[in-house]
């Protein structure tokens, strides 16, 4: 979990201060084309080499953190918000609201999300980062909503919620102060999952040619590298870093999720610790 948080933090830092860092510490602007150094392998000047149009790969990778993370975060925010809206409302209010919301949720679960995302994103004018994030988010909330609904339904019946209700607490306050806080582990796990899901979806869309062409993200980097045959031409320094970054971010969120899982489901944690003990003892 610690390692995961560290990696995630690094990515967030890169997203926040990456531009400044690239320009001032590395002396490289991710957007600058350098006609004289095209397809250069890593060197002292370009630590991770250059791309087919002479951009600094390291600076691009750092800048890509922002592009990818923005898509990941925004889409995750949207899908989590929708998930909460649909899942928690359906679970908490029950009745007709539940029937309707749950039906919509199930409908979205059976819709081919990636294909739809691809189609819609491919069609919208000017697929900016935000548009892509929006589409990914709008089509990706249903799974989360389903589990939130189940959890909320179980929480709604819990004694502490009923007890606060019996004290005269209003329904809104019950949702926000009794139910939601207990869903945080689930929600944060969902959110992290959605972040990496968004990053991966963005990369997949970019690979299929649907991307926000004006921003640098790890997805567009891979796409550019692929378009310009980085692998065939042996430009590993161009192809590998963005993929690794995505994988690292994914692993990081996975590890953080492990941690959250262990908090939410102590048995997993106990088993892990026991296993460590056993390994140590052996």
């Amino acid at each position: 979990m610690l390692a995961g948080s560290a990696i995630a933090l690094l990515v967030v830092l890169a997203a926040l201060f990456g531009d400044w860092f690239s320009v001032h510490a590395l002396g490289q602007d991710p957007h600058t084309l350098d006609y004289l150094v095209i397809n250069q392998p890593p060197s002292g000047h370009h630590l991770l080499g250059t791309t087919g149009s002479g951009e600094d790969v390291l600076a691009q990778t750092i800048a890509g953190a922002r592009g990818s993370l923005v898509v990941g975060l925004v889409s995750a925010l949207i899908s989590t918000a929708l998930g909460i809206l649909f899942g928690v409302c359906a679970g908490f209010f029950g009745g007709v609201a539940d029937t309707v919301l749950n039906f919509i949720t199930n409908l979205f679960i059976v819709m081919p999300v990636f294909a739809l995302t691809l189609i819609v994103a491919g069609y919208l004018n000017n697929t900016g980062t935000m548009t892509i994030a929006l589409i990914i988010g709008v089509f990706g909330w249903a799974g989360g909503a389903r589990s939130l609904r189940a959890q909320t339904m179980s929480l709604r019946g819990r004694d502490h919620v009923q007890a606060m209700r019996m004290l005269g607490e209003s329904r809104t306050r019950l949702v926000f102060s009794e139910v939601l806080p207990r869903l945080y582990p689930l929600i944060s796990a969902m959110f992290l999952h959605a972040v990496i899901g968004g990053v991966l979806a963005e990369a997949g869309l970019a690979f299929l040619g649907v991307s926000s062409p004006n921003t640098i993200s790890w997805g567009t980097m891979i796409q550019n590298a692929q378009n310009q045959n980085a692998i065939i031409n042996g430009l590993w320094w161009w192809f590998l870093p963005p993929g690794f970054c995505i994988a690292a971010l994914g692993t990081a969120t996975g590890l953080i999720n492990f941690g959250i899982d262990e908090i939410a489901n102590p048995r997993l944690g106990a088993a892990r610790r026991a296993a460590q003990q056993a390994v140590k003892a052996a």
Partner: protein
């Protein structure tokens, strides 16, 4: 202990022939059938019965967590509406849940738990006052030193302490009636008595009307003034506790009392029935209950009439009553 006659004043809270049916997957669960119970100021009524007999449902009907299917709930003698209870109602009637571990939000401090009801019902104006009031409440439930407990989280408290917080929280709204749904069954054996003593204290000092729901007849006898016995959604017997427990009139009450462990029971005397491999059968399925008296299929005294109708209430004297055809002729015989 006070010895007010139940009939001399209007009950604070009363269920009159309350009936509750649940719809569950196409079937109707007849959870409670024409159950009546009256709670009086300064008296404790115990409701005992097997699991699934409808005790919790009665308590929740009284708390208006869901509406009655039939009959009515009366507060201070006047019938209440069917919708969600308003704050006024909740200020008078409070419910305490069985599991103190589950009825406190794990992330909220004791203070928060006490402050909310104080605020909701407008008993305090500001934080400082809330804190002072909360401390007072903790003192009333003997959580001492009160100040130290205010900022603790539930997991820092033992089960008994948590249940005290739960009771204090209910008291914060200044109710007239406390409905305790098995309030001690999740607690450690050694601290249960303290809890019962606390409830007694509240009854005596604050004149609360209390409903005490339990499986455990012995604790009911220890705590309450009156006992009512439920079976499969029906009230089968009730009255002053010693009358009911020492001289049970209904065969089910007899079974219950016999089955309850008693440290003083002579083991050798019991041994004769050991070999008995047969069973009494199961409590009925409430989705499809037997006609008439629902105890009939398990009753050693079952008669033809038992299948025909639910027996009427027979007064056995001294406030002791039963619903059983054995007594319906008014003879008041106790069959043992």
């Amino acid at each position: 202990m006070t010895d007010l006659k139940p009939d001399t004043e209007t009950p604070v809270l009363e269920a009159v022939a309350a009936t509750k049916h649940f719809a569950a997957g196409g079937a109707t669960v007849r959870a409670v059938e024409e159950a009546s119970v009256a709670l009086h100021r300064g008296r404790i009524v115990a409701l005992v019965g097997e699991s699934g007999s409808g005790k919790t449902t009665v308590a929740r009907l009284l708390a208006r967590m869901y509406p009655v299917t039939g009959g009515e709930i009366r507060l201070d003698g006047s019938p209440v509406g069917r919708g969600h209870p308003d704050r006024e109602y909740l200020r008078r009637v409070q419910l305490i849940f069985q599991d103190p571990f589950a009825s406190l939000h794990p992330g909220k401090t004791v203070l928060h738990n006490l402050e909310r009801p104080l605020r909701i019902h407008g008993h305090v104006r500001d934080r400082a006052e809330a804190r002072a009031r909360a401390a007072e409440l903790l003192e009333r439930v003997s959580l001492l030193p009160a100040k130290e407990f205010l900022d603790k989280l539930p997991h820092q408290l033992s089960g008994g302490q948590r249940q005290r917080v739960v009771i204090a929280r209910a008291l914060a709204v200044r109710p007239a009636v406390l409905l305790g749904d098995e309030p001690i069954s999740m607690l450690d054996v050694s601290i249960r008595l303290d809890m019962l003593n606390l409830l007694t204290k509240l009854r005596d000092e604050e004149g609360l009307a209390l409903l005490y729901i339990t499986h455990d007849i012995a604790s009911a006898r220890y705590l309450c003034d009156d006992v009512q016995v439920m079976y499969a959604g029906q009230m089968v017997e009730g009255g002053p506790k010693e009358d009911v427990i020492q001289r049970p009139a209904h065969p089910y009450t007899q079974l219950l009392v016999d089955a309850s462990p008693d440290p003083a029971r002579d083991r050798a005397a019991d041994g004769t029935a050991d070999e008995d491999g047969t069973t009494l059968g199961e409590p009925p399925n409430l989705a499809d209950p037997p006609s008439g008296c629902r105890f009939r299929p398990r009753c050693p005294h079952a008669m033809a009439v038992c299948a025909e109708a639910f027996p009427p209430r027979t007064e056995l004297g001294g406030g002791h009553w039963a619903h059983c055809w054995l007594h319906a002729d008014g003879s008041g015989v106790t069959t043992t």
